[in-house]
Symmetry: C2
Subunit: 207 residues, 2 copies
Amino acid sequence: MTAPARTQKQRREEAEAALLDAAAELVAEQGLRALTLARVGERAGYSRGLVTHYFGSKQALVERLARAAQSGFVPGLADLPPGPDRLLRLIDGYLAQQTKHERPLNRAFLLLWMEAATSPDLARLFADRTEAFRTDLREDLTAGIAEGTIRPDLPVEETTAAIVAQLRGIAIQLLVTPESLDLPALRVFLTDHWRRALTGGGHGLTR
Amino acid sequence: MTAPARTQKQRREEAEAALLDAAAELVAEQGLRALTLARVGERAGYSRGLVTHYFGSKQALVERLARAAQSGFVPGLADLPPGPDRLLRLIDGYLAQQTKHERPLNRAFLLLWMEAATSPDLARLFADRTEAFRTDLREDLTAGIAEGTIRPDLPVEETTAAIVAQLRGIAIQLLVTPESLDLPALRVFLTDHWRRALTGGGHGLTR
DNA sequence: CTCCATTTGTTGGTCGACTGACAAGTAAGT
DNA sequence: ACTTACTTGTCAGTCGACCAACAAATGGAG
């Protein structure tokens, strides 16, 4: 056997990825309470014992999953310079992301973040992600203030907190009762709403 | 025994209230996963069997608890007539409520609402409450538009959704990492923010 | 290159703990 | 007496963890 079908490294990585995918799916579908080691293993196409063998414990699996779930970003924003335009596109992009049959990791992120309310371990993990989110917004706001396109008396900290909370609040409401929100209309409304709020007047921001 | 210390009705009602209180405490502390029939009974000062006897099943207990948790209102608003002032006080009052070592029912409400994301039964229960919340806001907005204190082109539906989501998003963030938010500053910011947004200009609403 | 000892991947059995439900029993109120 | 409040015993199911075993891959010695 000089040329085995799959090397050990491959086998391990494939299995580990499959297990994490399965875990994300389960959380996305039914929340943490549906995440049992047996289900993860079997949905991934393996046996129930493998998860423990690789991740050590259920808690370790959840932590790994939580880290993996934090990678969700709004695409197409990296090229934009910080400023109000990027911020508005971030808002719009975030909301747009919630509509498309959300990838499991997207749903899993929100559900795990909610679980963090009653789990200090998770809370610590998610603090970073939230802070990174707010940091991006902070950059946009300070850049806008510096270039004069955002009113200088806008409270930066409070604004970032308000935006993050609003976006996540909408995302959660969409999880609970999707039909109670008109997401396309909300996208239009919120971009316009924040455009007005940042400039301080009723005028458009660009042009 | 012609004069018993407590009548049967009293005993039942006391016990039932104690059980519901205990259930709310448990959910507030650790979420639904900590809500076991045995714990509820024993924390309430009874035996583990009583919960089933009164409520029939765990699901029935959770539903009762969910209904009880929906009674949280911002006090001191009933006397105000619908309009932007009442709306702003509702926002401020809602946020103020999140600071004071939240009564268990307050926390329990949010946590159960989050659980509703992965539990259709709960989702149905909470749809009403959210709708009632939004209805109040709707009344304020339409009244303000009618009396001319709110800009007439404000999209009412989207605004109510945005406010509810924002308030709940903040409340959840406070549950997860309370220290990451400056609540007093947020109260000031948000009332001012919405005052501006409703009028459409940078002017104050009253006076 | 090949064989074999060793490591690593993977499985299924099993144990102890916990949980919800129920039923049979005791005590208190009517 | 009889109903209602309340407790205790118990059962069946589920779960996380550990373990012993088999299978596949690896690497070094001949």
